[in-house]
Every structure is written in structure tokens, then in C-alpha cells.
């Protein structure tokens, strides 16, 4: 029969039990040493390895991303440069074409101007020459007329006939 008194004396909650302490210590130490070598060691090293693996994978992903971004940036730059180049070439071509056109037009105008001027000059010269010829001929005719008048002398009627002859002669020679 177990009474409260015996519990207090024999087996209280705080009753020391060296045998239990001994066995607990021995068991715990053995478990600790065995598991340290065969369980926790491999598990912890595997965890560390995996941590490293994950870290390196993350690092690699980051570097790949950076690389990709760099390449993208470079591509954009190249594209922009190519665009600029194309713009420049087109602009230059247009400018050149404009220049050539204006040059050609100017040259053509100058040429035509020159031709017109030379034609005018020629016309002027021809006209002057024709006038000179005409003036010489008129002078010759006048001299010839005067000669005839003087030759037939004094006779008004004769004079008149002479002039008429001369005019007829002129008209005939003209025709």
C-alpha cells in the first residue's frame, strides 16, 4: 500500500537517482558520439554542400542575367548606331543630289545665258556689218548718182531722167 508519506520519503519528484543519472549520461554520450560521426556529420556537410550549390547557382544566374543585359544594351547601341548611320547616309545622299542638281541647273543656265549672249553679239555684229555694207553701197550709189548727175549736167530734165534711171537701176539691182 502506497501512502503519501512513503511517496515523500521514497520517491518524491525531486528524489535523486544516481543510477538513472549514470545511465542517462552514458546513453546520451554514446548516442552523441555515434550520431556525431555517422549522422549529423554527413547531414551537416551535405547541407553545407547544398547551400554552396544553391549559392553558386544563384550567383551564376545573376551573372548570366548581367551578361544578357550587357548584350542587350550593346545590341541596342549597335542598332541605334546603325540607324544613325543610315540616316546620315540618306541625308548626305540627299544633300549631294541637291547640290548636283543646283550645280547642273546653274551650269545649264549659265551656258544658255552665255549662248544667248553670244547669239545676241553675233546678231549685233551681223547687223552692224549689214548696215556697214548698206551704208557703203548707199554711199557708192550716191557717189555714182552724183557722178551721173554731174556728167549729164545742168539739164533738169536730164537730171530727172538720170535720177529715175538710177532709181530703176537700184530697184533692179535690189531685185
Amino acid at each position: 500500500m502506497l501512502t503519501s508519506g512513503i511517496i515523500l520519503l521514497e520517491g518524491g519528484l525531486l528524489n535523486p537517482n544516481p543510477g538513472l543519472i549514470f545511465w542517462t549520461a552514458i546513453s546520451f554520450l554514446i548516442v552523441l558520439l555515434i550520431l556525431k560521426k555517422f549522422a549529423w556529420g554527413p547531414v551537416v556537410s551535405m547541407l553545407e554542400e547544398r547551400e554552396k550549390g544553391i549559392q553558386s547557382a544563384i550567383d551564376r544566374a545573376h551573372s548570366a542575367k548581367d551578361e544578357a543585359e550587357a548584350i542587350l544594351k550593346k545590341n541596342r547601341e549597335l542598332l541605334a548606331r546603325a540607324d544613325a548611320e543610315a540616316d546620315r547616309i540618306i541625308r548626305e545622299g540627299k544633300e549631294y543630289a541637291d547640290k548636283v542638281r543646283t550645280e547642273l541647273t546653274e551650269k545649264a543656265q549659265a551656258e544658255s545665258q552665255k549662248m544667248i549672249a553670244s547669239a545676241k553679239d553675233e546678231i549685233e555684229q551681223e547687223k552692224r556689218r549689214a548696215l556697214d555694207v548698206l551704208r557703203n553701197e548707199v554711199a557708192d550709189l550716191a557717189i555714182r548718182g552724183a557722178e551721173k548727175i554731174i556728167r549729164t549736167a545742168l539739164d533738169a530734165e536730164k537730171q530727172k531722167v538720170v535720177v529715175d534711171d538710177m532709181i530703176k537701176e537700184l530697184a533692179a539691182s535690189r531685185n
Binding site: 502506497l2 537517482n17 543510477g19 543519472i21 542517462t24 548516442v31 549529423w40 554527413p42 551535405m46
Partner: protein, 350 residues
């Protein structure tokens, strides 16, 4: 409608149950042997079923210790279940008288008791689990994902390694990880073994928790000596105060070194014991009041609730013990910070 019907059925059934109750107890006479929760089903179990009457005095001792006797108080039965015992009872199937060991190293009685058996059982379970996990972990490379038991254990080990050891101890935490992990699983398994039928809670015995706390104490002191040297250790005892205060500070600091393992001891022991006492007490309410209704309405639901709570506490206390061990080791080894403090304080004094 339904409520009315239920209340009518209850009105019919309750008196019946009550009368049954009184009949059952009347049949047993004034015998209070049914105070055992399991004995309720098998009331007529007699000492005849005692399995191994090992020594001559065993049956009588076993009977007395086991609590099959008459006129027993519930308190005695509860204490009988909480306390260590040289007889392992498997009611109602019988009991085993654990072997006495005649060899007495250092003059101590190392006879096997119930809690020694539980400690061994916990060690065996832990060894089996640990070795199987270790074997499965060894056989795989870092690119494979862990499976099954290894996954569970690994998650817990990783938790203790990073969140308990690393964050509390800081640099140089690696060499304490095996101890912390082992102590965590050891306490956890002891706690859980106490929750299964016919089990006993070894961690509800102050000797076991004291032993574990002494391990923490020894490791803490050794780590402190290693980290700070003798001079740093002694300086630590003065807590960096002026020399005139040392006569007060040094004893306080020395006491403080011992209160830490003491707190670990008492916390674990009291938590595990208290939970079991509550479960037993709730069950005994039904026996004290001699009522099936109380059993169904109060004892069983509340006992189940406390049992689930105990399941949580089993994990919690294992974690708390490990956490505080890591914290104490961290406090003992954190010397750089303290040196700076001391230097600052010295500068302030002069």
C-alpha cells in the same frame, strides 16, 4: 424539432446512464481499484496475472508499488505513474520486474528502472533514425533532393543549425551543432515516448533533465574558457564593474553560472511532469465523481485536448532546451563584445 428530439432522448438516457453507473460501482463494492484508467475496463484483474515474480518479495512489492491495492488515493496513483519505478507495468497484461544490477560502480546503484528503459528506448530510436538518415544522406550527392525520413530530419537539423546555433552562438558555432541536434532529438523522442500508451516520460524525471543540463553546463564552461582564456573568464565574472563592487558581483556571477542549467533542469522536468499530471487528474475526475457522464463530457475531451497540447509541448520544450543551451553557449563565448564593453567602462572610470 431536432433539438427537442435530442433533449427527449437525453432525458430518457441520462437517468439510465446514471443508474447504470451506480450499478457498476455497486457491483464493484467499495473497491476503488478502478481508479486506474485502464483498469476500468478490466476491473477484476487480480495479482494472479503478474507476469514475472522475479524475487521472493516481488509480488507483494509489485502489488503495493503498482497500486492495485485497496483504499488508494488518486494522488498516489498519479505519483506512481509519474515517478520512476523498478517494475514496468503493462496493465492489464501484467508487469515486468526490471533486473537489478549487482555491480555498483562508484558505490551507486545502477539498477535498471522504468525511466532507464525509456532512456535506452529513446537512444535506440534516435540511433536507428540517425543512422538510417546518415546512410541515406551519404549515398546521395548535393544535386538530389532528400526524401522521406531524411527530409524531415534534415529540415530539423538545418533549423537547429541555422536558426538556433548560428544565430545564437555566432562564429565558431559548427562544433556545437552535433550536441545541440542530439539533445534536441533526445529530448523530443523522450517526450514523445512518454505520450504513447505504456510509455513513461524520462524527461519528466529531474535526474534525466539534470544530466542533460549538466552537459550543457560543462560545454558552456569549457567553451567560455576556450574562447576567453582564464583571464577573460575571470574578468567576465566581475561583469566589468569597479573593483569595489567585486565582492557583490563575483558571487552573483558565479551563482548566475549555476542558475542557467538549474533553470534548464526545472523547466523541462516541470513541463513534462505537469502535463502528465493534468491528463491523469482530468481522467481521475471521472473516477472520483463515479460518473460516465463526467467521463464523456469532461475527462475524455479535456484529456484529449491536453494530450494534443502535450504533443505541442513535447516539441516546444525540446526546442526551448536546445535554444537556451545555444544561447548560454553564445553568451559564454561572445568575448569580443564584452571586451569592448570592459574597455569602455575602464575608460569611463579613469
Amino acid at each position: 424539432m431536432r433539438v427537442q428530439a435530442t433533449s427527449r432522448i437525453l432525458a430518457l438516457v441520462v437517468p439510465l446512464l446514471l443508474s447504470l453507473n451506480s450499478h457498476a460501482f455497486a457491483a464493484l463494492g467499495q473497491n476503488e481499484a478502478t481508479v486506474h484508467e485502464s483498469a476500468a475496463a478490466a476491473a477484476p484483474v487480480a495479482p494472479a496475472t503478474v507476469a514475472e515474480p522475479a524475487s521472493g518479495a516481488a509480488p507483494a512489492v509489485a502489488e503495493a508499488a503498482h497500486g492495485e491495492g485497496q483504499g488508494e488515493k488518486p494522488g498516489d496513483v498519479i505519483m506512481h505513474h509519474i515517478l520512476d519505478n523498478k517494475v514496468y507495468a503493462f496493465e492489464p497484461f501484467g508487469e515486468i520486474t526490471l533486473p537489478e544490477i549487482a555491480v555498483r560502480p562508484f558505490g551507486i546503484d545502477i539498477s535498471v528502472t522504468k525511466h532507464v528503459v525509456m532512456v535506452w528506448l529513446a537512444s535506440a530510436v534516435l540511433l536507428v533514425v540517425g543512422l538510417s538518415v546518415g546512410a541515406s544522406v551519404k549515398g546521395m550527392n548535393s544535386k538530389q533532393s532528400p526524401k522521406g525520413l531524411a527530409n524531415v530530419i534534415e529540415a530539423l537539423v538545418d533549423f537547429i543549425r541555422t536558426d538556433v546555433a548560428k544565430s545564437n552562438i555566432g562564429p565558431g558555432y559548427e562544433k556545437f551543432v552535433p550536441f545541440l541536434v542530439t539533445v534536441f532529438f533526445f529530448i523530443l523522442i523522450c517526450n514523445l515516448l512518454g505520450l504513447i500508451p505504456y510509455g513513461a516520460t524520462a524527461t519528466g524525471n529531474i535526474n534525466v533533465t539534470l544530466t542533460l543540463a549538466v552537459f550543457t553546463f560543462v560545454i558552456t564552461q569549457v567553451a567560455a574558457f576556450k574562447a576567453q582564456g582564464v583571464k577573460g573568464y575571470l574578468q567576465h565574472l566581475t561583469a566589468g564593474t569597479h573593483w569595489s563592487l567585486w565582492i557583490i558581483m563575483v558571487p552573483i556571477e558565479i551563482i548566475g553560472q549555476f542558475t542557467k542549467p538549474f533553470a534548464l533542469t526545472i523547466r523541462l522536468f516541470a513541463n513534462m511532469t505537469a502535463g502528465h499530471i493534468i491528463i491523469y487528474s482530468l481522467i481521475f475526475i471521472a473516477f472520483i465523481l463515479k460518473s460516465y457522464i463526467v467521463a464523456m463530457a469532461v475527462s475524455v475531451p479535456f484529456a484529449i485536448f491536453i494530450y494534443l497540447l502535450e504533443l505541442f509541448v513535447a516539441f516546444l520544450q525540446a526546442f526551448v532546451f536546445t535554444m537556451l543551451s545555444a544561447l548560454f553557449i553564445g553568451l559564454a563565448t561572445a568575448h569580443e563584445h564584452h571586451d569592448e564593453d570592459h574597455a569602455l567602462e575602464h575608460a569611463a572610470h579613469h
